[in-house]
Each structure stands twice: as structure tokens, then as C-alpha cells.
Symmetry: C2
Subunit: 225 residues, 2 copies
DNA sequence: GCGAGGTTAACTGTTGACAATCAGCAGTGT
DNA sequence: ACACTGCTGATTGTCAACAGTTAACCTCGC
């Protein structure tokens, strides 16, 4: 059982803020004033500063020295940057997974896969994306590389932020749920096929990127409303 | 011309500490006490905490909550983790470089390459590694992906730390300077050969990893002195 | 002599106050 | 009317002090 460890104040504050940002309650571009937050959460400015620093580290906020910190407003260009890196490290992750993960660990991956398929069958996109992320997180976990996992989490949080905001701006993106691409990844890993797995990851990102580019393109010529 | 911007105190402190850590003046495992550092640098504990937080972010120190922060003592296993990620993102970097970098930018890469070759011809390994890093930094810069560059810098600092400490423990690693592997990378990019460049990067990391594994193996059976 | 429990010193987490800086606005001159 | 200068309120960067926790030491009982 996990040793109960005192959460530091800034962690609680960071958790709260992260949730509000990803929920969309704190819109992109919103200025986060330290004294306000301190008052709201009933702590002093110190822990708030630490929390904001953490959020900036993972890319959910940006910190302009002596001017304040603001909720990140990520663009299509940012998404492109994130996806290039995610693809690179996830290909590396599946390579490692195949050579070192046990069958039991791979079983966990399939559990995550089923959750994804179930979630996309439902109608709550936010939930589906959460499951989607969890699948990829499981992939990176199979690598056994802690730095890789932490890096993926960092990039994942930015991805989620961008998804949520794009969900808000143009409410429905017409698409076929990306379940097939995920299944291909899991099965290639289970089959211990390095080539197949790397290609499957590539296909996944190609698919996702194309899809997002299409929705962006469909939305951006008509930015009104 | 660059707008002159006030460096914050914690940046100065972080710079100083980073230098001392990489110089080896602060050995791995050393405890960094906030009050001591505050007194030494003539600032309060606030900026010192921020500086330590930054160093932990890039992996030069580790932060144990309520116990203090210590200079990282990186192991062979850490190196393995770092190199897996570096290889993955550097392969992605050269792919991007080939498709978007102009000939002038690639010229800068060759300038860095010449610096590497000159440095390895000299006898100061620390200087040579610095040039080596700068070459890879130039590579990542060619990608035009800011996140990728920052990520590389983060991993680079850990690499340098490990190199320096390994230099201290077993003073000389017998090797042939890795100039050829770097040249292959630069030339493949200049020739706009994606396949060649990716393979060259792979060869570089294979070479470096083998070399380090060999020196570690040679040192670890006889850990005394 | 050796281990368990209590005690103390040192250090980190947190707080509230002070000083420096920035963005916006009014006022002035052209 | 417009641009520029000097204020003003708000906000961040920094500081010094308090409180809680950790780790080491020291004593006591076996």
C-alpha cells in the first residue's frame, strides 16, 4: 500500500488549476493573478507561485516575467510541434516495449484498448479522449523508461488542452472514431513485431494529424461564431 | 539588437549552481541547503528555491520533499534512458531539418562540425564535449521545432553531467574521437537524404552507447580507486 | 553491548510585508 | 487630432520570520 505522503499546498493548487484549465472554466489567454488565486484557495502567494511554475513547466500556462502568467492559447502550430515529438518518442516506446515488456503488462495495454473502444462508442468526447490518452500512457509505460513516461505525460497534457479548446470552439468534429489505429498498435506489440508496431504508431499519428488538420481547415475559413 | 532584459535573481543563482555542478565542484549526492546558498549568494531563500526548482526540472538535481535537494548522481541506467530519448528526437529532428532547413542554416551546422573536429583534436575533453553538444544542439535547431530544441537542451544537460562525472571517476576513457559519426550526419542532411541522415544518427548513438558501455564495464569490475 | 524511544537541532514549507516594475490613463504640448 | 510625458493603481519579485517535519543524537532499559 502506498505510504501516505503529505501533499504540499502547491500540488493541491496545481491540481485544482489544471482541472479548471482543462475543463475550459479558465479560458485560453486568461490572466492568472497570484493574489487572487491565493485568496481563492486560502493560501499565501508562495504555494501559488510554485503551482503556476509547475503548470508552466508542463505547458498549460505561459510565464511572462514581471507581467504575469496566462493560460496557454495553443495553436495549430503548437499541435504540430507536440505531435512530431509524441510520434518520435512513442515509436521508441513501442520498440522498447516489444523487447522488454512481459505478457502481463501487454495485457494491461489491451485493457486500456477496450476502455478506448467503449469510450468512443459513447457520446462524451471528453471521456473518450481521456481513455485515448490513457492508452498511450500505457504504451509509454511499457517502455520501462521513466523519463520517457514523464515526457509523454507532459506532452499529453498539452494535447488534452488543445483538444478541449478545439472542442469548445467548433463543437463537433465530424469523424470516424479512431479505434482501429489503436488496435493495430496493441496487436503489433502483442505479436512482438517491431516493424508493425512502429508503422502502426506512425499510421496513428498520420491519421490523427490529418483529421485535425481537416477540422481546423474547415473551421478557420469561417471564424465567425 | 537584443532588448536588454533584467535577469531575475533565481536565474543568476541557477546559472552559478549549474556551472559548479558541471565543473564537479559540487559532487554528485551533495546536499544543497537553501539557507547556505542564500547566504553564499547574498539573496533570500525565495530565489534560491526557484533556482533549485529549475535545476531539478532539467535533471541536474533531485528534490526530495521536506528532505532537501541533492546533486543528481546519474547512473548507467539513467544514461540509457536519456540516450533512447535523445536518439528518437534527434532522428525526428534531422527528418524535419531536411525538409525545411535552408542551405544557410545547414552551413551553420558545418561550422559546428568543424568546431567539433578541432576540439577533439585538442586534449581538453571537457571542451570537446561542449563542442559536441553544440553540434547536436545545432541539429535540433534545424528542426525549427522549439519544443524539440528545449527538450534536447534538457537532455543535453544531463548528458554533460554524466560525462563530467565519468571523466572524474575513471579519468581517461580510451577511445577514438567520434568525429566520423558527426560528419556523416551533417553530410547526409546536406545531401537531403532522409534515410542516410536517420541512419547516421542511429550510428552515432550506437557508437557512443557502445563506447560508454565499454568504459563502464572496464571500470565497474574494479571500483576501488 | 545493543536496540527502542525520546529529545533536540537543523532545515524546509508557508506566511505576510516591503520594494521594484509594469500597464493604463490623464494631461500637456504641438 | 495626435504623440509624448508623467503619474497612479495593480501586480510581481524579494525578503525576513514562523511553524511543522525530518534526521541525528542521546539516554535508558534489556
Amino acid at each position: 500500500m502506498a505510504v501516505l505522503e503529505h501533499k504540499q499546498l502547491w500540488e493541491t493548487v496545481a491540481d485544482q488549476l489544471r482541472e479548471e484549465i482543462l475543463d475550459g472554466r479558465l479560458a485560453a489567454g486568461t490572466r492568472l493573478v497570484e493574489t487572487e488565486l491565493a485568496a481563492r484557495y486560502g493560501v499565501s502567494r508562495g504555494p501559488v507561485r510554485d503551482a503556476l511554475s509547475e503548470l508552466s513547466r508542463v505547458g498549460l500556462t505561459v510565464d511572462l516575467p514581471r507581467r504575469g502568467t496566462f493560460v496557454s492559447s495553443l495553436t495549430e502550430h503548437d499541435l504540430e510541434e507536440v505531435y512530431v515529438i509524441r510520434r518520435a518518442i512513442e515509436e521508441a516506446a513501442v520498440r522498447l516495449a516489444i523487447e522488454r515488456a512481459g505478457d502481463d503488462e501487454i495485457g494491461a495495454l489491451f485493457a486500456a484498448l477496450q476502455a478506448v473502444e467503449a469510450a468512443y462508442a459513447g457520446d462524451d468526447l471528453a471521456v473518450a479522449w481521456e481513455a485515448d490518452m490513457e492508452f498511450h500512457r500505457a504504451c509509454s509505460r511499457l517502455s520501462g523508461n521513466r523519463r520517457l513516461m514523464e515526457l509523454f505525460d507532459l506532452l499529453a497534457s498539452q494535447t488534452v488542452l488543445l483538444m478541449r479548446t478545439s472542442l469548445q470552439s467548433h463543437a463537433s468534429l465530424a469523424w470516424t472514431p479512431p479505434v482501429e489505429v489503436h488496435r493495430r498498435i496493441a496487436e503489433a506489440i502483442a505479436a512482438r513485431s517491431v516493424e508493425g508496431a512502429v508503422e502502426a504508431v506512425g499510421a496513428h499519428y498520420q491519421y490523427t494529424q490529418d483529421r485535425l488538420a481537416a477540422t481546423e481547415a474547415a473551421a478557420s475559413p469561417a471564424p465567425g461564431d
